[in-house]
């Protein structure tokens, strides 16, 4: 059975907004629908029946069980376009690209949208577990007496709702606290983290200024740029911030609000198809999806340094490169999602560590260094923000545009995710 190449035709996202800001009253469905409509407008897909739309959100209301399908029904796409939800934490966006690209490669569909959305502003709030159990018992009771008996168990403290928190169920630690340990274990300096953060803001601002995002963004609710972007930030300004995570490390705490991504709202979408479908629709192909790989680490029981919560891409990457016979030198652009500056730097350090690479990755020599001039050249999550499931789509569409702008080349993507997971992928022009 022959496979086909999945083309990246283009993308669309709404500007990312810091939590409880510009999109405070927008729901996941609102943002995803607007993002799909912007994509439809850019590529003239009104009433077009696509093969499928795959999307997801990390923070989701229970009523949004069919979030993506509902967004399609609210969009200007043909309502005969099927859709499904995907959830792989921060890997969601890239995973939807892999899933749809695979279906295109296998000949099951000719076109697809891969997307992601997240809001930490319009977050689901649930009643506490005790109250939930009581209410369920009231519902189950068959008599007035039974219902009263169940209600009699109500206590004043039951009114406190459960608000979702950015923490791992198995450790109770937030993502930042996990990364603070990893950052510290790998000996990543505060200066290196601040430099990476400053570069992210500088690169993103420059990209906006030269119109790089003109074909990638559709403004939403009055926002035309990511509002986390601080074009005038500098290493000196970032150095003044106090630690936000790993405070237990005392003087050795290095992670601040400046070198960590803030909670963010936003959505992104990528249009994929076969080359033939794109040609039929008079749409140029930006790049092709080559391959993807997912990895996971046992951050609960594993080594405190080498199995950090956000270290899974470190393990997925050598498998992906080996399967495709490539090394870092074969890539023109490398996109490593900046969950925290420490995540990127610990990942790079691991790939340069001969002992680690031999023991844990089974390599004779280090996987290698990454030329910083190729890394996140148009900024990444530290500047843009990180609406969890929307980050993958942001990176794929931007990277495909970079490859198209340079005429040829290869691009590499690495995204870490909660639950000790990571997704990596290759694009080429």
């Amino acid at each position: 059975m022959s496979t086909r190449r999945a083309a990246i035709v283009g993308g669309n996202r709404i500007p990312f907004a810091r939590s409880n800001g510009a999109y405070a009253h927008a729901s996941n469905q609102d943002m995803l629908t607007a993002t799909l409509d912007g994509l439809v407008a850019r590529f003239g897909l009104q009433d077009e029946r696509l093969g499928e739309v795959a999307a997801g959100a990390v923070l989701k209301h229970s009523r949004d069980f069919n979030l993506t399908r509902e967004a399609v029904l609210g969009s200007t796409l043909s309502h005969d376009t099927p859709a499904y939800d995907v959830q792989q934490a921060c890997g969601t966006g890239l995973e939807t690209v892999i899933l749809t690209a695979n279906k295109i490669a296998l000949g099951q569909i000719d076109s697809a949208v891969a997307a992601g959305v997240d809001t930490t502003s319009d977050a689901p709030i649930a009643v506490g577990e005790d109250l939930r159990q009581i209410l369920l018992d009231v519902n189950r009771a068959k008599s007035v007496q039974g219902r009263l008996k169940a209600l009699a168990r109500l206590r004043p403290n039951h009114v406190v709702p459960t608000i979702p928190v950015n923490s791992e169920p198995r450790t109770g630690k937030s993502m930042g606290e996990h990364q603070a340990i990893t950052t510290h274990e790998w000996g990543i300096s505060r200066e290196a983290q601040d430099e990476l953060a400053a570069a992210s803001h500088r690169n993103l601002a420059a990209a906006y200024d030269r119109g790089f995002f003109d074909d990638l963004i559709t403004p939403y609710l009055g926002l035309a740029r990511d509002n986390n972007l601080r074009p005038d930030t500098s290493v000196a300004k970032l150095a003044k911030l106090g630690p936000a995570f790993g405070k237990a490390l005392g003087d050795e705490a290095t992670m601040t609000a400046g070198n960590s991504t803030p909670l963010t709202d936003g959505a992104s979408a990528v249009l994929l198809s076969t080359d033939e479908w794109a040609a039929e629709h008079n749409l140029p192909v930006l790049a092709h999806f080559v391959d993807g790989e997912t990895g996971a680490v046992d951050y609960v029981h594993g080594d405190v340094k080498e199995d950090g919560l956000l270290m899974a891409p470190v393990y997925a990457m050598p498998r992906l490169l080996a399967r495709n016979g490539l090394t870092f030198a074969d890539f023109d652009f490398i996109e490593i999602h900046e969950a925290f500056a420490g995540t990127v730097l610990a990942t790079l350090a691991a790939w340069e560590d001969a002992d680690f690479c031999k023991r844990r990755l089974g390599l004779d020599k280090p996987l290698g260094s990454i030329d910083r001039a190729k890394l996140n050249v148009n900024g990444s999550s530290l500047a843009a923000g990180h609406p969890f499931a929307a980050t993958g789509g942001r990176i794929v569409a931007s990277l495909a545009t970079m490859l198209n702008d340079s005429g040829s080349g290869r691009g590499l993507i690495s995204i870490c995710a909660a639950g000790g997971q990571g997704v990596v992928a290759i694009l080429e022009k």
Binding site: G38, D214, T218, P219
Partner: protein
């Protein structure tokens, strides 16, 4: 926004009051709706030569579905006079004789359309008599009531006559009043389907996110064009809605940016088989008395409203992205004719556009019979004019022969006509869509 005064004087009580105290009585204009005939009733067609109306004219009208009659029996929807033979002052009496009886029976939103021969500078008597028609039509337009209009076609060549008749007699020209248009030589093929004259054409409209630009995009799409709607990235959300309503595609483009022509050419090369229709609609205002104007207010208006049109036109003509028989329509303004206090910068650009199309006509004509024209809107109800102070807006609305503001669709209809294959003989001209604005008309 709705014109409350217009609605009021068209109610039974409002109408009675307005008529007794002598207030202006704007009519609800006949505007084109899908499936409407060109005219809702018969047209009296005559000739100033004393002979019968020429067969070619009657044939063109009949082909357009117009019921042609020789004299007014009851209500008529249009009076069409072929006055091309007028060559001496005495010939003008025939114009009066033809028009007089019909005026009394002209229906609401009726049409008076006069065909003349353009002056050619050969003979003073002939030219004076021909030019006199312009004064008759402009004055008659001011005399007509109930939404009726009078316009003049200078027929140098009949190629564009069929499409001009359809435009000027139908509701598409509702807000064009007292205007002359020269129908010159040019290739003006009849479309396969007069309801879809732009079928298969690729059009690009700048400044299309809202107001007049959005209406133009919708009207070109209605007429069959594939429309690329362009506007600033900042307007992208509204722009996407326009694209999705019109079944078009959106393009974020700052027409004043240095790289705009190249970005436009790259987009056309990647996404189209060439551009057939370009509408330079993007425009800004930075109103200030000249005495107080800062350089930025001057420069930005010049850059967006005028310089961008020149550079983009030059780039398109030098590229292989502009199709043969292309149509370019530039947005001017009645401010370009009459001036406006506080708008020296804007007035400069809008008068500049009139000069631009006049001077560019020849270059476009040799590009496979392409044309370039301008449309000059008068007072149009848009989001922009809705922000004017109430009294100023109400006064401005009444300052035209039609006693009301135009709508974005009125401008869009004129743009769509000039964008159509059938208007190939119209080149280098500026058509006012202003309800015969009393200021500088």
């Amino acid at each position: 926004m709705s014109d409350r005064y217009l609605n009021l004087v068209n109610s039974p009580i409002g109408s009675a009051v307005a008529s007794r105290v002598g207030l202006p009585q704007p009519a609800v204009l006949r505007r084109h709706r899908a499936g409407d005939p060109i005219l809702p009733g018969p047209a009296v067609v005559g000739s100033a030569s004393g002979k019968k109306a020429p067969a070619a004219l009657v044939k063109a009208l009949t082909a357009a579905g117009v019921e042609v009659v020789d004299s007014a029996e009851g209500s008529v929807a249009a009076l069409i006079l072929d006055a091309r033979s007028v060559a001496a002052p005495a010939d003008l009496a025939a114009v009066r004789e033809f028009l007089q009886p019909g005026l009394r029976t002209l229906a609401a939103s009726g049409r008076v359309l006069v065909l003349g021969t353009p002056a050619d500078g050969v003979d003073a008597t002939v030219d004076a008599s021909r030019q006199a028609l312009d004064g008759i039509v402009r004055s008659l337009a001011k005399e007509l009531r109930r939404g009726a209009t009078a316009n003049l076609l200078w027929v140098q060549d009949e190629a564009s006559l069929a499409s001009a008749l359809r435009f000027f007699l139908s509701g598409k020209s509702a807000y064009v009043d007292g205007q002359p248009v020269l129908l010159g030589t040019g290739t003006a093929p009849a479309p396969k389907n007069w309801d879809l004259p732009l079928a298969g054409k690729t059009a690009l409209v700048t400044g299309a996110a809202r107001g007049i630009g959005a209406a133009i995009a919708g009207t070109l799409a209605r007429d069959g064009a594939n429309v690329i709607v362009a506007d600033l990235t900042q307007a992208g959300e509204a722009l996407a809605n326009v694209a999705n309503r019109t079944g078009g595609t959106s393009l974020h483009l700052d027409v004043a940016a240095d790289n705009a022509p190249q970005r436009l050419l790259d987009h056309l090369a990647a996404h189209t088989d060439g551009l057939d229709i370009l509408v330079h609609n993007a425009g800004i205002t930075r109103d200030k008395l000249l005495a107080n104007m800062v350089p930025e207010q001057w420069d930005s208006v010049i850059a967006v409203n005028l310089a961008s049109q020149l550079t983009i036109n030059a780039a398109l003509l030098a590229s292989d992205q502009l199709s043969a028989a292309a149509r370019v329509v530039c947005l001017s303004s009645t401010t370009g004719f009459a001036g406006n206090r506080g708008q020296t910068n804007y007035g400069a650009t809008k008068a500049g556009v009139i000069g631009l199309v006049r001077a560019s006509a020849a270059a476009f004509a040799v590009h496979g019979g392409s044309t370039i024209n301008a449309v000059a809107p008068g007072f149009i109800d848009t989001e922009m004019t809705a922000k004017m102070p109430f009294a100023t807006r109400e006064v401005a609305r009444r300052l035209s022969s039609l006693n009301q503001a135009g709508l974005p669709i009125d401008v869009a209809e004129a743009v769509a006509w000039l964008s159509s294959p059938g208007a190939g003989g119209v080149n280098g001209q500026t058509l006012r869509v202003c309800g015969q604005n009393l200021v500088g008309a």
